[in-house]
Symmetry: C2
Subunit: 308 residues, 2 copies
């Protein structure tokens, strides 16, 4: 799947992943009204609104980008109906040929991580049969529990030729409280980065490993260091746009081959119509605004990489 991701990045010229993180305040009123008319102001109604909103965006941008990253929390908050909308989104995006990165940030003790791994990336045995649960292509994984909490994911990646992105240095303001603390003179994120590099050796694609890392766009200096610590790991970079990262900050997340990083934007794309810059599209054409925002983001990143 890492090979497929790289192929699609090359085809589209866009090392971009769009975060499908639908918040109610992003969803045009008309979509909400239609959904509530059908299902009432219920979890089912909310889930329908999420799904219709996503579908509009995906239809408008799927040819421009290699991948999407649905943030499961935005669905899980609507309970079981929300999870149904998550699953519909995953399946629809895969049908459209997109690589799907489930942003689930799971991680637990060994036997439990195994259940998450089969549920999101693999297949689970039921009687004599094997069934797929959520069936994403990649997921994000939390490393706080150590390697026996991560290795079950790697085993399933090997079986299924799928991948994970391990949280190394997250984009949020307080990520440093734990991740920047020094252990034997080295920050925690660097120790985790070293683990990512070691785990990745166990499952290599053609040029990059199935085991990638999450490093926030908001921390470009750490990105530069981690790029060297984990040369074969693809870096998933959240925090572009709304969280403050810009194209010029991102160049050091890439390797000299122009690969090695994929930049996420969520609200900057999916709620583009709410920005002054794209307001002319209006709520009814929110998906066209998203398409315009993807094109601008592609240009911003390509420009920054050319100037290196």
């Amino acid at each position: 799947m890492i090979n497929q991701l790289i192929t699609r990045i090359r085809q589209t010229g866009a090392p971009i992943v769009v975060g499908l993180d639908p918040m109610m305040k992003f969803i045009p009123q008309q979509i909400q009204k239609d959904a509530y008319a059908q299902y009432g102001e219920t979890l089912e109604g909310a889930a329908e609104a999420l799904w219709q909103y996503n579908k509009g965006i995906v239809d408008a941008i799927y040819d421009l980008i290699p991948a999407v990253k649905p943030q499961i929390a935005m669905y899980e908050q609507f309970g079981v109906p929300g999870m149904i909308a998550f699953k519909k989104t995953v399946d629809y995006c895969r049908e459209k040929g997109l690589v799907v990165i489930g942003d689930v940030k799971r991680g637990d003790i060994g036997s439990t991580s195994e259940a998450y791994a089969v549920g999101h990336l693999g297949k689970v045995q039921v009687g004599e049969k094997f069934c797929y649960g959520f069936d994403e292509d990649f997921i994000t994984v939390n490393p706080y529990l150590g390697s026996d909490g991560v290795k079950p994911f790697i085993r399933v990646c090997q079986e299924e030729k799928k991948g994970i992105f391990v949280l190394v240095k997250t984009s949020n303001p307080s990520s440093g409280e734990l991740q920047d603390r020094l252990v034997d003179g080295k920050p925690v994120y660097e120790l985790v980065g070293e683990q990512v590099a070691a785990w990745g050796q166990e499952c290599m694609g053609d040029g990059y490993s199935y085991v990638g890392a999450v490093v926030g766009a908001t921390y470009p200096e750490q990105g530069r260091i981690l790029r060297k610590v984990m040369p074969k790991a693809f870096i998933l970079v959240p925090g572009y746009g709304a969280q403050g990262g810009r194209g010029a900050d991102l160049v050091h997340f890439f390797n000299e081959d122009g690969l090695g990083a994929i930049i996420n934007s969520s609200r900057g794309i999916i709620a583009a119509y709410q920005q002054d810059k794209y307001a002319r599209y209006g709520a009814a054409n929110y998906a066209d605004a998203s398409r315009a925002a993807v094109l601008d983001m592609r240009e911003d990143i390509a420009g920054a990489l050319e100037r290196v």
Copy 2:
């Protein structure tokens, strides 16, 4: 909810939480057969088996214990039907008067943690209405992203009078890879423990805080230290039984008031009938075996606390 948990611990004389972590290999063949006869060897069939198995156990033990802890991964692995079984289990246990600790180990950047918090502990706005998603009483939270990843959970706890248990020192063998590393001479788990104590001051129940901690039974020495670092935090202690912890190891997780800790056992209770000690019950009476195992566990812990 922390007050209610303590009341129920006093009523039952059992500082015990039963982990409802159904693995297929624990579920008696007959229950599986009946479920597959109805739904086929599908995710729906598996989910039905989980639910019937849980219901049998809950009916047999609900009067003996204060709380249950369903591990969501064991449901999530069966996709959407598994999540439906999780929700049915949560609702049924709450109807039976049990405190429900959702073992979900969520944690993300601020806006995303907020979605997890409302989805699992609070209510989410849909149009003019407010709806509950999964609606547990407590959940477990991963601290790797720092305080802006944890505080949204605390805000919802304050609103809803619910609680969280933050992962501090987990029970698994490799938990030390990150959690035991020394920062300024102090292990990471102690730093996180200090944060738990600080966060907890913002939401105190009568004697204990809404913000508790997870510390594995398999690390009694760390439990002793953390008990002092976080005197007002309830400690959720996994790892009793199958993972190797014994009653005598647990005494230092408690405060002098005999409270402050709740010990989890999962397979030791729910799959008791598969142990030699309870084999006489047979698979058909698996729930009675679970009841016997709860009574034995209560005695083991009470005995250990008396000997202090």
